[in-house]
C-alpha cells in the first residue's frame, strides 16, 4: 500500500537520505533501523510531508504523495507520531483525542453554534471513539487530566491513541519505546501487534530497542549513513554480515 522508490533528501551539501526504497503491504509491520544519524527520521519526515524530498517517489495506495503538504497526507490516512512526544499539553487528554477527529466532524460554524441534531450526533460519535481508545490504552480514568501532567509512558500511549482516533490506514511510529521501562515496552509490543491484528492498520516503525523490533516486525529495513544497507525478515537481517558490522555489533 505504501511504496517508496529511490527517495533522496539533500540539505545543502549534506545528502541525508540517498536512494532509499522500501514498501509496506497491507497488514504488515515494517521496521526501519540504523545507527543514530542514519537518516531514519528524515525518511519519515519525507513520507509524512514535513520535508519535500529532493528525489524519488512516494506512492500511497497508488497515488504520488511526495511534496504534498503534511495535513493533506495525514488526511489520506498516513499518520505519524514523533520521536519526542508532541501532545497538546495544556489541553485535557480527551480534548487531545477530539482535536484529532476534526476532519470527521462537521466544521460548519453555524451548525455548531445552534447545535443541530446532526452536529450533536457526530460530536457524540467522536466522544465515544475517544472513550473507546482511552479505555484501550488504559487512560480512561485520566480523561480530564491535562495531557502534560501524565507520566511519560502514558503520554506515549496517548500519542498512539490520538493517531488511532483518526482511523489511519498506515501508522508511522518514530521510536515509540524511547524512554519506556521494560514492562511498558512489553505493553507497547502488545498494543502494536493488536493494532495490526484487530484494527487492520499497517505500521512503519523506527526503533532502537532490538527486542521490540525483532519480536514484532514482519520485515526490517536497515539504513546506514543515508543509504539502504539491507532488508528482509528479522532472521535474515540478524544474520546479515553488513548489518552486524554496522549496527548490531560483533558480539
Amino acid at each position: 500500500m505504501l511504496e517508496v522508490r529511490n527517495l533522496s533528501m539533500r540539505f545543502g551539501g549534506l545528502l541525508a537520505v540517498d536512494q532509499v526504497s522500501l514498501d509496506v503491504q497491507e497488514h504488515e509491520i515494517v521496521s526501519i533501523i540504523g545507527p543514530n544519524g542514519a537518516g531514519k527520521t528524515t525518511v519519515f519526515n519525507c513520507m509524512s510531508g514535513f520535508y519535500r524530498p529532493t528525489g524519488g517517489q512516494i506512492l500511497f495506495e497508488g497515488r504520488e504523495i511526495q511534496g504534498k503538504p503534511d495535513y493533506k497526507i495525514s488526511r489520506l490516512g498516513l499518520v505519524r507520531t514523533f520521536q519526542h512526544v508532541r501532545l497538546f499539553s495544556k489541553m485535557t487528554v480527551v480534548e487531545n483525542l477530539l482535536v484529532a477527529q476534526h476532519r470527521h466532524l462537521n466544521t460548519n460554524l453555524i451548525a455548531g453554534l445552534i447545535k443541530t441534531p446532526s452536529y450533536r450526533h457526530r460530536e457524540q460519535q467522536s466522544l465515544d471513539r475517544a472513550a473507546y481508545w482511552l479505555d484501550r490504552v488504559g487512560l480512561l480514568d485520566m480523561a480530564n487530566r491535562e495531557a502534560g501532567n501524565l507520566a511519560y509512558g502514558q503520554q506515549r500511549r496517548l500519542e498512539i491513541a490520538r493517531c488511532m482516533v483518526t482511523e489511519p490506514k498506515l501508522l508511522m511510529l518514530d521510536e515509540p519505546a524511547a524512554g519506556l521501562n521494560p514492562a511498558e515496552t512489553r505493553d507497547l509490543n502488545q498494543l502494536i501487534i493488536s493494532l495490526k491484528e484487530d484494527y487492520n492498520v499497517s505500521v512503519v516503525l523506527i526503533e532502537h530497542d532490538m527486542s521490540l523490533v525483532m519480536e514484532i516486525s514482519d520485515r526490517i529495513n536497515v539504513i546506514n549513513q543515508g543509504r539502504p544497507l539491507a532488508s528482509g525478515t528479522p532472521d535474515e537481517v540478524r544474520q546479515n554480515d553488513d548489518v552486524i558490522k554496522a549496527y548490531l555489533g560483533e558480539a
Binding site: 509524512s48 514535513f50 503538504p69 503534511d70 495535513y71 495525514s74 488526511r75 499518520v79 505519524r80 514523533f82 508532541r86 501532545l87 497538546f88 499539553s89 495544556k90 489541553m91 485535557t92 480527551v94 480534548e95 477530539l98 482535536v99 484529532a100 476534526h102 476532519r103 466532524l105 466544521t107 460554524l109 455548531g112 453554534l113 466522544l127 465515544d128 475517544a130 472513550a131 473507546y132 482511552l134 479505555d135 480512561l140 480523561a143 480530564n144 491535562e146 490520538r162 493517531c163 483518526t166
Partner: protein, 423 residues
C-alpha cells in the same frame, strides 16, 4: 552571592540617579530671550536620592522580598480548600452569572448618567478583549494591531451614515463583517509567522490603518474625524429630544413620559450589554467546538496539529477573522456612543490596553478577561486625581502581576467532559 547582590544594587541605584536627576532635578527657565538651566529645589533632589536609596535596598534584598511575595497567595484562606464538585460548581457558577446579568440589567436605572456611560465603555472593552482573547489567548497569535479592526468597525458605521444615512442596526453587521474581512486579509501575509515576527507585522498593520484614516481626508475627514453619528434606535424610536430622521418617533412622546437625557445613555448601555453577552456566549460556544479546540491545538504544538490533518491556513485565518469580527462589533457601538470619531481614538496604546486586559485576566479565560476589563477601565476613572500617574501605576501593576500571578487573575480552566464508560 551577597557581593554580587551589592554590586547589582549599586548599579541599579546609579541608573536611577542617572535617569531621575536630569529629568527631575534640572529645570529649564526662560529668562528674557535666554533659556537657562536651574537646579531644582531641595525637596526634589532629596526625593531623587530617597528613590535611589529605595532601589538600592530593594535590589540588595531582592531575593528575600520576592520570596515573601511568592508566599502571598498562602494568606488567602481559600487557597488550599478542596475543589468543589464538578456539577455543583457549574450550577453555582450559572446562578452567579444569572444574578450578575440581572443586576447589570436593572442597575442603570438607579445610578448617575456618568456611571452608566462609563459602564458602556467597559462593555465595549469587554467585547474587544473577548475578541482578542480568541487570537492571543486561544490561538496563541500575538496581535499588536487589534485596534485596527476596532477602527474599521467604527469608521464603517460613521462613513455609511455620512454618505448613505445608514442606521445603527444595519451598520452593526456590516461593520463586523467588514472588520472580519480585514482580519481575513491580514491573516494571509502572516500565515507563516509566529511570535515576535507576527507581533511586528500586526503592529505595522494597526499603524497602516490609522495612518490611512488620517490621510484619506477626502473620505474620512482625516484628523478632523467624523461627527454626527446617530444613536441607535429601538423599533423606530429615537431617544433624543427631537426626532432627527423622518418616520421615527421619539421615545418620550410615544410613551408620554417626561424627556430625560439619561434615556439615551441607558438604552445604549443595554444594547452594549446585549452585544457583550452575545459575544461572550458565541465565543464560549466556539471554545467547545472543533474550531475552538483546533485554535488551542495550534497554540500548543503546530507540528503535531498539522500531522493530525489540521490545516494551519484554515485555523489561523478563522482565529483572525472571528477575533476581528467582534472588534468590528465593538467599534460600531463605540462610534454610536461617542457620536464623533477620529483616528486619535485608535492609536497603538489602545491595542496595548486591550492586550493588557487579556494578559491580566488570564489568557483564554473569559471570566478573567471580563474582570480585568472592568478593573483596567474603571480604576483609572476612580483615581482621577492621580491621572498623571496612570501609566506608572498601570506598568507597576503589570510587573507585579507577572511576578505574583503570571497566569492571570482567573486562569483558564479546562472544560470537564463526561465520557460514557465502555462496556
Amino acid at each position: 552571592m551577597a557581593a554580587h547582590n551589592l554590586k547589582h544594587a549599586l548599579f541599579c541605584a546609579m541608573v536611577t540617579l542617572v535617569i531621575a536627576y536630569p529629568i527631575l532635578g534640572l529645570n529649564l527657565e526662560a529668562e528674557g530671550t535666554q533659556v537657562i538651566l536651574e537646579g531644582a529645589d531641595t525637596l526634589t533632589v532629596v526625593s531623587v536620592l530617597v528613590a535611589a536609596l529605595a532601589v538600592f535596598l530593594f535590589q540588595l534584598f531582592r531575593d528575600t522580598i520576592m520570596g515573601s511575595l511568592g508566599k502571598l497567595p498562602a494568606i488567602n484562606p481559600f487557597a488550599h480548600r478542596e475543589p468543589m464538585e464538578q456539577n455543583k460548581r457549574q450550577r453555582l457558577e450559572t446562578i452567579a452569572l444569572l444574578i450578575l446579568v440581572a443586576v447589570a440589567l436593572v442597575w442603570p436605572f438607579f445610578v448617575s448618567r456618568g456611571s452608566v456611560d462609563l459602564a458602556t465603555l467597559v462593555l465595549i472593552y469587554i467585547m474587544l478583549a473577548l475578541g482578542l482573547n480568541v487570537v492571543v489567548g486561544l490561538a496563541g497569535l500575538l496581535d499588536l494591531g487589534y485596534v485596527a479592526f476596532y477602527a474599521v468597525g467604527a469608521y464603517t458605521f460613521a462613513l455609511l451614515h455620512q454618505y448613505f444615512g445608514v442606521s445603527f442596526w444595519v451598520a452593526l453587521p456590516i461593520g463586523a463583517l467588514l472588520a472580519a474581512t480585514f482580519g481575513f486579509l491580514l491573516g494571509f501575509p502572516v500565515l507563516r509567522l509566529r511570535g515576535d515576527y507576527l507581533a511586528i507585522v500586526t503592529l505595522g498593520f494597526g499603524e497602516i490603518i490609522r495612518i490611512l484614516l488620517n490621510n484619506m481626508t477626502w473620505l474620512t475627514g482625516g484628523p478632523n474625524g467624523i461627527g454626527g453619528i446617530p444613536d441607535p434606535t429601538v423599533f423606530g424610536m429615537e431617544f433624543g429630544r427631537r426626532v432627527k430622521e423622518e418616520g421615527n418617533v421619539s421615545f418620550h412622546e410615544m410613551f408620554d413620559v417626561a424627556y430625560s437625557g439619561s434615556h439615551k445613555i441607558i438604552v445604549l448601555y443595554l444594547i452594549a450589554l446585549v452585544l457583550a453577552l452575545f459575544t461572550a456566549l458565541v465565543i464560549r460556544r466556539f471554545t467547545k467546538m472543533p474550531v475552538g479546540r483546533s485554535w488551542e491545538a495550534l497554540r500548543e504544538d503546530e507540528i503535531a496539529a498539522r500531522s493530525l490533518g489540521l490545516s494551519r491556513t484554515a485555523v489561523k485565518l478563522s482565529a483572525f477573522t472571528i477575533g476581528a469580527f467582534f472588534a468590528g462589533f465593538a467599534g460600531t457601538v463605540f462610534a454610536s456612543k461617542q457620536g464623533f470619531i477620529s483616528p486619535e481614538s485608535f492609536v497603538f496604546l489602545e491595542s496595548a490596553i486591550i492586550l493588557a486586559i487579556v494578559v491580566l485576566g488570564g489568557m483564554g479565560s473569559q471570566l478573567g478577561v471580563i474582570l480585568a476589563a472592568v478593573a483596567v477601565i474603571i480604576l483609572p476613572e476612580l483615581a482621577r486625581e492621580f491621572s498623571e500617574y496612570r501609566m506608572l501605576i498601570f506598568g507597576a501593576a503589570m510587573v507585579l502581576m507577572m511576578v505574583w500571578r503570571p497566569q492571570g487573575l482567573l486562569p483558564m480552566r479546562r472544560i470537564h467532559i463526561e465520557l460514557n464508560k465502555q462496556e
